[in-house]
Structures are given as C-alpha cells and as structure tokens.
C-alpha cells in the first residue's frame, strides 16, 4: 500500500502527520507529505487509513498493493 498527499489540495491542517506520524511528515509550511516514496509498512496501514479518513480536504490518495 502506498499513500500520496496531493499538494494542490493540501491546506496544511496537519491531521495526517498527527494521526500517522510514521507515514506522513510536515514540510516547512506545515503541509503534509508522505515519508519516502509513500510505501506504508504493514503495521502502519490502519494508522495510514485513519489519517486519510481524517483529512478535511480529502487530499490523500491510497494506492493498494495489487
């Protein structure tokens, strides 16, 4: 599973890196960015999904592993 924060939609609410700090980080203006290439470790998947569900701007997409 991979996640990606769309920087056009992100407004820097910071919910993703608060809910799933292992998966998302804040940049210098407070926008959310996925760590690394966005690949989510198995034990972080539920936190990542919760972060997605808490984004007020619906700015995060999930790519499921096929």
């Amino acid at each position: 599973m991979k996640v990606h924060v769309d920087q056009e939609l992100c407004q820097g609410h910071g919910r993703c890196y608060a809910v799933a700090p292992e998966v998302f980080d804040a940049d210098e203006i407070g926008n959310g960015v996925e760590r690394g290439d966005g690949t989510v470790a198995a034990e972080q998947e539920s936190a990542a999904r919760l972060a997605v569900a808490n984004c007020p701007e619906n700015a995060i997409t999930i790519e499921e592993a096929s």
């Binding site: 407004q11 820097g12 203006i29 919760l50």
Partner: protein, 420 residues
C-alpha cells in the same frame, strides 16, 4: 507605506465603503431574519442550526444589509472553496462593508485577501505557524498554564474562563508579536469590540477600530526603533516579490494575528472545560487515559467549533436556488457544518473517542486557519495542565455560564467547583 503617509483605512466614516443602520428588533424567524448577535443564538445555536438544516438549509436575513446562512456541510464547503464567487474582502458580518477597491488585500491580510494576492501574503506567514515553529512555544505555554493554576490551588470555585482560559492565548500571541504582556486587558477589549460590536453605531465602530489600529501603530513605531526577534519585526522586514509590505498590510496582519489568536482559542479551551465539567464520564475517561486527549480534543473542536467566517458575494447570481446580490453577506458556519448528520454519525453527540473526524473547525480551502497548529497546541497543553491540577471538577452553577455572541462563540464565564 502609503504615498501620503496617512492611513487609508478607517479615516473619515463617510468616505469608507458602505454602512447600514443598526437593527434592534428581536428575531422573528431564523430562516428569514437570522442574527448572529441574537442572545438565544449565543446561548445555544445548535437547535437553531439543526432546525434550519432540516427546514430551510440556506437561511436569509435583511439585517446588516442582507445575508445568507448555509447550514449543510456540503454548502459550507462549496462556499469556502469558491473564491471566484465569494470574496473575503471583509470576514466579519456587520453593518460596515469596506470599499471594493480594498480587494484583493482587504483590511486584515491574508484572511481578508482574495487570490492571487492571498497566496503570497499567506505564504510568508506559514513557516512561523508551522508545527516545528509552534513546538518551540510549548514549554513556555505549559509553564504559563501552571503558573495560572498554581495561584488558584485551594480555591473551591474557579471561573475557568475568566481566571484561566482567556489568559492563555493572550500571553502566547503577545509573546509572538512582541507586545507588552501588561496590555492583555486592552487586547481583550479590542477583540470584544471588533467581533461583538458589529451592530454598534457606525461612528462608535470606527472609533473602536481606530483605537486598535492606533495601538498597532504604536507597536510598529516601537519595533522600528527597537527591532527584535518577533512577528512584528518580521513583518516590517518582510517582502512580497521585491517590495516591502505596505503599511496597511503590516498593521492589518498584526491586527489579524492579535484578534484571531485570542478569543478563538480561549473559546476552545473554555468550551472543552465546560463540557468536561458537565460530563463526568468523559472527564474521568480523560483523567484515566491522558493518551485519549488528542482524539478527544478534535471531537470537542468539532462539537463546539468556535469560529464562523463570513464572505461577500462578488456579483448578483443565483446560488443553489438563492437570489444572491452583490455584496450580500454569507455566514460560513463551520459549527453548523460540523453538526450535519449527513457528514457525521451522531452529529449532535460528543463522542469523546471519535476516531474518524473530518471536521471543519479550522475552515476549509485556501483560508484554513493559519493558527490552527498554534491553537491545537494551546488547547492540548491548556487541558493537560488543567486536568493535572484539577482532575475532579463540576459546574458550580450551570445557569451562570455565559457565551459570547457573534462569529466567535465560547463561554465567557464558567464557574466550576473544584471537587476533592
């Protein structure tokens, strides 16, 4: 700096935009005559908003020169995202609309700014309000909260708003702007006048706003003489493109940070303590499991979102069946959006461990509250320190709790009994 060296804004009343006469009549029906200053609304707006969402989801009023109130989450979000049709030239709904020429900067950039000006005006402030910068303020905030509550130890009844909540954001924003801490009472007066004085006679309103800007001018002069490491000196040195910010931009932003940084967070801390004082089961859970606080805090922000914004309609149009006129107000009720059952299960209940919570307490779109990370830090620390000092408390007199009117709603007196 302006060419003449004189303030463009709030000089002579008659030269400044458009003004309506104050209205004193009681509200007949909130669907056709809503008033955000109404005492019934201030005391408890949620039954009114729930009723409107069912019966008349976009309410109207002739007050304040005309305005609209969308109550569904979907409509609130649509207005927040639509900067083509709705301007932020003025975000406090009242009897005064500033001149059209003021757009896109507005009176208090960037909250009052429209694209494309808005982007750069906001961008230059964002790093100072990003989580990394805010983290550095946490120890100072925590120490200040302890200092406030240590003085109250031993009392049997405490006013959680007057003796605690109201002081926290005032001290923090004064520190950030580099304003004297001893001016705290003046800041609260400025806030009350700006946000609750929207139906005052226009001369009085302008006088209040001139007093605020006069104070900000004094702070600018002091910082020009003695530059230091704070947001005021930062704004005086800042550039957009290659140009320094104009005088109205600097003081407008200072005014924004002062006003928006105070009673919003004071309201959020106060409403949270008020809820916990009246709901022992939630209070006991939080005391037993402090790790729940970040989740609980989001739910309290959803349920008691302090801030309602306003927009002005750019041109005559029909919007969702409503005949909107140029310069009609639109109240952007995030509190109502946050209570929409279409968006939230058990929308009218405080579910202290609600995990999925896409609330809009800090707005949506390009005007997301720039101080949201600061506010969350202050609310979290404010509640943690309160619960450390006073794990057991209850409302001393529920009928003595009072709430602010207008677009920022929160408790202004909360007498609580400290239980042993």
């Amino acid at each position: 700096m302006t060419d003449t060296g004189e303030r463009k804004l709030y000089g002579e009343v008659e030269e400044q935009g458009f003004n309506n006469e104050p209205t004193e009549a009681p509200v007949e029906d909130f669907a056709t005559d809503f008033d955000h200053l109404d005492p019934v609304w201030a005391a408890d707006p949620y039954p009114i908003l729930d009723d409107l969402r069912e019966r008349c989801p976009i309410a109207h009023t002739e007050r304040y020169g005309g305005g609209w109130l969308p109550t569904r989450h979907e409509d609130v979000a649509a207005v927040a995202y639509d900067t083509d049709h709705f301007s932020s030239r003025m975000v406090v709904m009242g009897n005064h609309r500033p001149p059209f020429e003021l757009a896109p900067q507005g009176v208090a950039p960037p909250i009052s700014s429209d694209p494309p000006f808005h982007h750069d005006a906001r961008r230059l402030l964002l790093p100072a309000f990003a989580p990394r910068a805010i983290e550095r303020l946490e120890p100072f905030t925590r120490e200040f909260c302890h200092e406030l509550l240590s003085k109250l130890e031993g009392k049997s009844v405490i006013d959680a708003a007057v003796e605690y909540a109201q002081h926290v954001p005032v001290r923090v924003i004064a520190q950030m702007l580099g304003f004297p801490h001893e001016d705290a009472d003046r800041f609260r007066e400025f806030v009350k006048n700006v946000l609750e004085g929207v139906n005052a006679p226009i001369e009085e309103r302008f006088g209040d706003i001139q007093a605020l800007f006069g104070y900000l001018d004094e702070q600018v002069a002091d910082h020009q003489a003695n530059p230091r490491d704070d947001l005021t000196s930062f704004l005086l040195d800042a550039k957009m493109g290659d140009e320094p910010l104009n005088e109205d931009h600097v003081t407008g932003t200072m005014g924004l940070l002062l006003i928006a940084g105070i009673d919003t967070t004071w309201s959020a801390i106060g409403a949270s303590i008020w809820h916990l004082a009246g709901h022992p089961e939630d209070r006991e859970r939080l005391v037993a499991d402090p790790g729940l606080l970040p989740t609980a805090m989001e739910e309290l922000l959803r349920a008691f979102a302090p801030v309602t914004m306003a927009r002005l309609v750019k041109d005559d149009m029909e919007w969702n069946g409503c005949p909107m006129k140029r310069d009609d107000w639109v109240l952007l009720s995030f509190p109502s959006a946050n209570r929409d059952p279409e968006e939230f299960e058990q929308a009218d209940q405080v579910v202290i461990d609600r995990e999925v919570n896409r609330h809009a307490a800090f707005g949506l779109g390009i005007h997301r509250c720039i101080g949201s990370h600061l506010a969350r830090m202050e609310v979290r620390v404010g509640l943690e320190v309160w619960l450390e000092h006073f794990p057991r408390f209850s409302l001393a007199d529920p009928s003595a709790v009072t709430w602010s009117a207008g677009q920022v709603r929160g408790p202004r007196t909360i007498p609580v009994s400290i239980d042993s």
